[in-house]
């Protein structure tokens, strides 16, 4: 199982991605794709970019979650803890508030600026200490501050329409995304993923605690920079593209960990593949579900994640009791 996990996940992801192109309010049989059917436009312009976005956002969030859990040595850590996702959301909400969201790229740029500001603030707070406690507390403070500012912006929204638009956006969705969104998100995600892949050995060393990791040649402040920038790029780009989609970073590393050697580096790639798989499936499901207006995938993930988290806590409690 341990050796076959990655090929299995890859095969499942490939299959799910292809099937997700078929699924939706309009079902399109695979034969129609080849036969010059006019519904091909639905596939090429709507479902293909949406599917690719689900792959990179889900994969990125899974990877970022696995890296965060490894770095904080805590199975309950989540990229949302970090403040970057709240910062990106604030940036996007401000763009909508000032009516800039209709212009292409502006919403993405504002979300990325918000993520960048949160990253810079966190780096300044954590400083050169490389201390994990300061890092965690800094993330929590930034997260709640950005959350408060977002609430303030919502309460000051000029029209109920703007309020609705902001709230709707915050829920996270992949509806009506275009190739532009893919082109903005993909390079940033790829860069973040490369940076996080570079932390694998250091995260493994941290298994033995900070002192042992340093004695194994890990530079804690360098590692902290890598984690801040890597997770920041991924989470920032994913919020810019799809709004806030929670729980993937928390759930997926848990699901795959028992099938790996359990050291942080062996959880990274399976988490990325598992995250992509989960979001592709969830997004296809909300698209195909017979609801009047499409269920936001961010809400669907939270509906799935809440009970999962509860079950996790119950199991932990039983283990401790």
């Amino acid at each position: 199982m341990k050796r076959r996990l990655i090929p299995l996940l890859l095969a499942a992801l490939l299959l799910a991605s292809l099937l997700s192109l078929i699924a939706g309010k309009v079902w399109i049989a695979p034969a129609a794709m080849l036969a010059g059917d006019e519904r091909w436009a639905i596939i090429a312009e709507l479902r293909l970019p949406r599917m690719l976005l689900a792959v990179i956002v889900g994969g990125g969030l899974g990877l970022a979650g696995a890296a965060m859990q490894g770095y904080l040595r805590n199975p309950l850590a989540d990229p949302g803890l970090f403040g970057v996702s709240a910062g990106a959301a604030l940036g996007a909400v401000l763009a909508i508030f000032f009516g800039l969201s209709a212009t292409p790229y502006v919403l993405s740029a504002c979300a990325l600026a918000g993520a960048g500001a949160a990253m810079a603030l966190l780096a300044a707070l954590a400083g050169h200490s490389g201390s994990i406690i300061v890092f965690t507390l800094g993330g929590v403070v930034i997260s709640s501050l950005a959350g408060a500012l977002t609430a303030l912006v919502i309460s000051l929204a000029p029209t109920p329409f703007a309020t609705g638009q902001i709230v709707n956006w915050l829920m996270g969705a992949l509806t009506d995304r275009s190739w532009n969104d893919v082109l903005v998100a993909a390079p940033l995600m790829a860069l973040g993923a490369i940076i996080l892949a570079g932390t694998a050995r250091a995260l493994d060393a941290l298994t033995l605690g900070e002192a042992a990791a340093r004695s194994l040649g890990v530079n804690p402040s360098r590692l902290q920079w890598q984690v801040i920038i890597g997770v920041g790029l991924i989470v920032g780009a994913s919020v810019a593209a799809a709004g806030v989609i929670g729980f993937i970073g928390l759930i997926v590393p848990h699901l795959v960990r028992p099938f790996t050697r359990r050291n942080p580096s062996s959880v990274l790639l399976p988490s990325a593949l598992g995250g992509a798989l989960l979001l592709v499936v969830a997004d296809a499901a909300v698209r195909a579900a017979p609801t009047v207006s499409e269920l936001r995938v961010g809400i669907a993930m939270s509906l799935l994640g809440g009970p999962f988290f509860l079950a996790l806590l119950l199991r932990l409690r039983r283990k401790l009791a």
């Binding site: 493994d204 033995l208 605690g209 042992a212 340093r214 194994l216 359990r262």
Partner: protein, 255 residues
């Protein structure tokens, strides 16, 4: 030679080390002893290159240890922390393999070093077990195997015998002795004076962040030294094999 010269270290404003010099020689076991708070762990962390100092420096073959590339330093100095922390429930072989992280050598070389380290610590039978299923003694052996797998020139261990029963203490001592006989410079922090007298080639006795005495057991573990540093009276017997036999008689009369 791994040498500390005139180290001054302040932790949270309080002086932890106040001008400590000590040397760890290849092929020998050096025991760092002293009462709680004397600065033993601080000295060990400084020797391992994990601690910035206010003054003085640690040199590894005459190169300042803090200026070495961290990975290069990690290949030469192995460090076993006092707290046996393992955060994920990994299997023993994966854990021991962590000792190879600084090397990035060929997989065959890594595998050979890991196998040798596990054999030396009698862990070969534990390879597939997960950490949470190990007893305290097994865990201590596995963590020692992790350091040995890195094949360091200097092995620094902070209280490697704490929480071990006498049998496992002897096993661990035999491991450290074998490493020293193979040329490794071994430095360990110890609390048990009788054990220190038996196993150490060199002793460094710390008191309030300063070196109260150093040298062989016979030079360091004298009645007056021990009375001054620990506030206890001991009886020292010189054995025919040259070893010391130590017995604690009780608290010395103060005043």
């Amino acid at each position: 030679m791994l040498a500390a010269r005139d180290l001054v270290l302040k932790l949270g404003g309080a002086p932890a080390l106040a001008g400590v010099s000590a040397a760890i020689a290849p092929g020998q076991i050096t025991a760092i002893i002293g009462p709680n708070g004397a600065g033993k762990s601080s000295l060990l962390a400084c020797l391992a290159g994990l601690q910035r100092v206010a003054a003085g420096q640690v040199t590894l073959d005459d190169a300042p240890v803090l200026k070495l590339d961290p990975r290069q330093r990690a290949r030469r100095i192995g460090f076993l922390p006092q707290v046996a922390e393992v955060n994920w429930d990994i299997d023993v072989e994966t854990l021991v393999a962590l000792g190879r992280l600084p090397h990035r050598s060929a997989p065959a070389a890594d595998a050979a070093a890991i196998t040798a380290a596990m054999a030396a610590t009698d862990c070969a039978g534990l390879a597939g077990r997960v950490v949470s299923s190990l007893s305290g003694g097994e865990r201590a052996r596995v963590l020692l195997a992790r350091v040995l797998a890195g094949q360091p020139d200097y092995l620094l261990a902070d209280e490697p015998l704490a929480n071990l029963d006498p049998g496992h203490q002897l096993d661990t001592i035999a491991c450290l002795r074998a490493a020293a006989d193979a040329g490794t410079g071994v430095a360990i922090v110890l609390h048990d004076l009788a054990l220190a007298a038996q196993i150490a080639d060199q002793l460094v006795l710390l008191h309030n962040g300063q070196v109260a005495a150093n040298g062989t057991a016979a030079q360091v573990l004298t009645g007056p030294n021990v009375a001054k540093v620990y506030g206890i009276d001991i009886q020292v017997e010189h054995q025919p094999d040259g070893r010391l036999h130590l017995m604690v008689k009780g608290r010395s009369q103060r005043g």
